[in-house]
């Protein structure tokens, strides 16, 4: 079994969500590396978009700290403006979008704005950035976050980025045609929507963790999906690709 960190497992789980030939809205931090791994393994024709105005058809050659670093500009397929890349989202052309989150609920709604809500602010988070746009307009959303009871809650106090809103038909009622969270990748598990209501269910548990532990650390009554399994450990090819993308071992 390969030697890997939790973050490396999360990156590889995220990379697996990217399909070949897709247009991927990459976002910040961990997904930057996930895009690189996917590109070097099963998705050599995936194109990556970064909201600052960068499009890449090959991973950057150095570790990136932010999407706008010089290493992400050099050798890019296109450096342009925000409207040009986010316009691809609105035009329905983005297959997979990635976002992070501070608080998520069982319908996959994500709060990165106001813990406690807008009227009774307990913690002021940085805000949407591009997250609301990516969540509303990607065909498939992948969320990445830490698995803590206070973060995975019954109902978020403010929806920055819409998931399924209030369950069945929630997106359609809000006027959002399709999409919604396809996977929530945490440091303990992968959750996926299940059934017509699209409630998040436990889909796979990372090696070294148990379903009970995951349920215990979730703020709603987390149900397990049929066929719930263990998250496959990173394979050798995946780890090789990861080491190639994360040369300095930032995520080790």
């Amino acid at each position: 079994m390969a030697d890997y960190s939790t973050q490396e497992l999360m990156i590889i789980a995220a990379a697996r969500e990217i399909r070949d030939g897709e247009l991927v809205f990459v976002g910040m931090r961990l997904p930057i590396t996930a895009y690189g791994v996917a590109r070097l393994t099963h998705a050599p024709n995936a194109v990556g978009m970064f909201e600052g105005g960068v499009v890449r058809d090959a991973p950057a050659e150095e570790t990136l700290y932010t999407m706008c670093d010089p290493a992400n500009q050099r050798n890019a397929a296109w450096t342009t403006g925000l409207i040009q890349v986010m316009g691809h989202l609105q035009a329905g052309r983005v297959d997979t979008g990635f976002i992070g989150g501070a608080e998520i609920d069982k319908w996959g709604n994500i709060n990165t704005s106001y813990i406690g809500g807008h009227e009774d602010v307990q913690v002021k988070l940085p805000g949407s950035g591009g997250a609301a746009d990516i969540a509303a307009m990607s065909r498939r959303l992948i969320a990445i976050m830490n698995h803590e009871k206070r973060r995975l809650v019954e109902r978020v106090s403010y929806i920055t980025s819409p998931g399924y809103i209030d369950g069945e038909g929630g997106r359609a009622k809000a006027g959002i045609a399709a999409g919604g969270p396809a996977a929530v990748i945490t440091d303990k598990a992968v959750l996926r929507p299940h059934g017509p209501a699209n409630e998040l269910h436990l889909s796979s548990v990372h090696p070294g963790h148990t379903a009970d532990e995951v349920i215990e650390n979730t703020g709603w009554e987390l149900k397990t999906a049929p066929g719930m399994t263990e998250t496959p450990a990173p394979g050798e090819a995946e780890m090789t690709a990861l080491h190639q993308v994360d040369r300095q071992g930032f995520w080790r």
Binding site: T66, N75, G81, I176
Partner: protein, 307 residues
């Protein structure tokens, strides 16, 4: 040619007024002219409305220094550290004072600046549907797409027109014409929507350099009010082909701004105790040299000859 070169001190003194709507960098994490952030703090500007999609830690610094009355944008924090401690203190505890927060997403502030730049009465978008941003910011209006046979909601975004946009570029001439390359976020829309534009240039060049390549112009000189020559004026933000991002600086800022005293000490050290941009560069010393991009990866030639 109308000469527009002046010191950043003069540009901020004459062109940024208390209460103004101000953009400092509109390219998210790159080309943010932090030199202007520091100068605004030094001059004690008040009640500014900071407009940006994401301007890394610049807005957080200004909030902590008491310069900000309102935030109109998508994100305030510190890209390296996540949360912005000064933003939290202002929003949660009104320290140093209360803030008006006008919530946007990156795309909606983008379309607001686009509408401002190009005179659209408003911009209808499909984004932020289902988001509480529609509810917490009364600037938006809901409508139904009249071109759709089904009931299709759209969000109407009104124009945003900054009083001042301050932008970092690689090079500019004395008349304000400038070249920028790399991802540009909303820099062009912000500049063209603004009443006054201040260019913070890493390098000042002869007019022939800029006019050699009119397709690389970010903002034409006739829309520029002042040009300030500040080498590395985007530090700690990167500038494509010129300067690396100083991530350690952002991390240090994040750690020290965790409480008010720490932030005040940071501010004394990096803003008040240095003499403007030259003093700041001097204080960085070797650290700045290490961030300088020394390599060459040159754009293929482009010919504009006409005969």
């Amino acid at each position: 040619m109308i000469e527009k070169i002046c010191s950043l001190n003069d540009a901020v003194r004459n062109l940024v007024r208390d209460g103004d709507g101000v953009v400092i960098g509109a390219s998210l994490e790159t080309a943010i002219p932090f030199a202007a952030t520091y100068e605004i703090i030094r001059q004690g500007k008040k009640n500014l409305e900071m407009i940006a999609p994401i301007s890394d830690a610049s807005t957080d610094m200004l909030i902590g220094a008491g310069c900000v009355g309102a935030v109109t944008g998508a994100w305030v924090g510190n890209v390296s550290g996540g949360l912005g401690h000064n933003y939290r203190r202002a929003a949660e505890k009104q320290i140093p004072h209360a803030l008006d927060i006008n919530d946007y997403s990156n795309f909606t502030i983008g379309m607001a600046l686009f509408a401002g730049a190009y005179g659209l009465p408003y911009a209808p978008v499909r984004s932020i549907l289902g988001s509480d941003i529609i509810n917490s910011n009364p600037a938006f209006k809901m409508a139904t797409n009249p071109f759709s046979t089904e009931t299709e909601p759209v969000v109407l975004v009104p124009p945003v027109k900054p009083d001042v946009a301050i932008l970092g570029v690689q090079r500019a001439d004395a008349a304000g014409n400038n070249h920028y390359w790399g991802s540009s976020g909303l820099a062009q829309e912000a500049a063209l929507a603004a009443d006054r534009v201040i260019i913070v240039a890493d390098e000042i060049v002869e007019p022939e350099v800029i006019s050699s390549d009119p397709s690389r112009v970010l903002v034409p000189g006739f829309r520029v009010a002042a040009v300030c020559h500040v080498p590395a004026g985007t530090h700690p933000a990167p500038l494509t082909g010129r300067w690396q991002r100083d991530s350690a600086f952002f991390n240090d800022y994040h750690a020290r701004s965790r409480d008010v005293d720490g932030y005040m000490a940071w501010l004394d050290e990096w803003v008040f105790a240095v003499e403007g941009a030259p003093g700041y560069a001097e204080k960085l010393g070797e650290r700045l040299s290490a961030l300088k991009i020394a390599g060459s990866w040159n754009a293929a030639p482009a010919n504009y000859a006409a005969e």
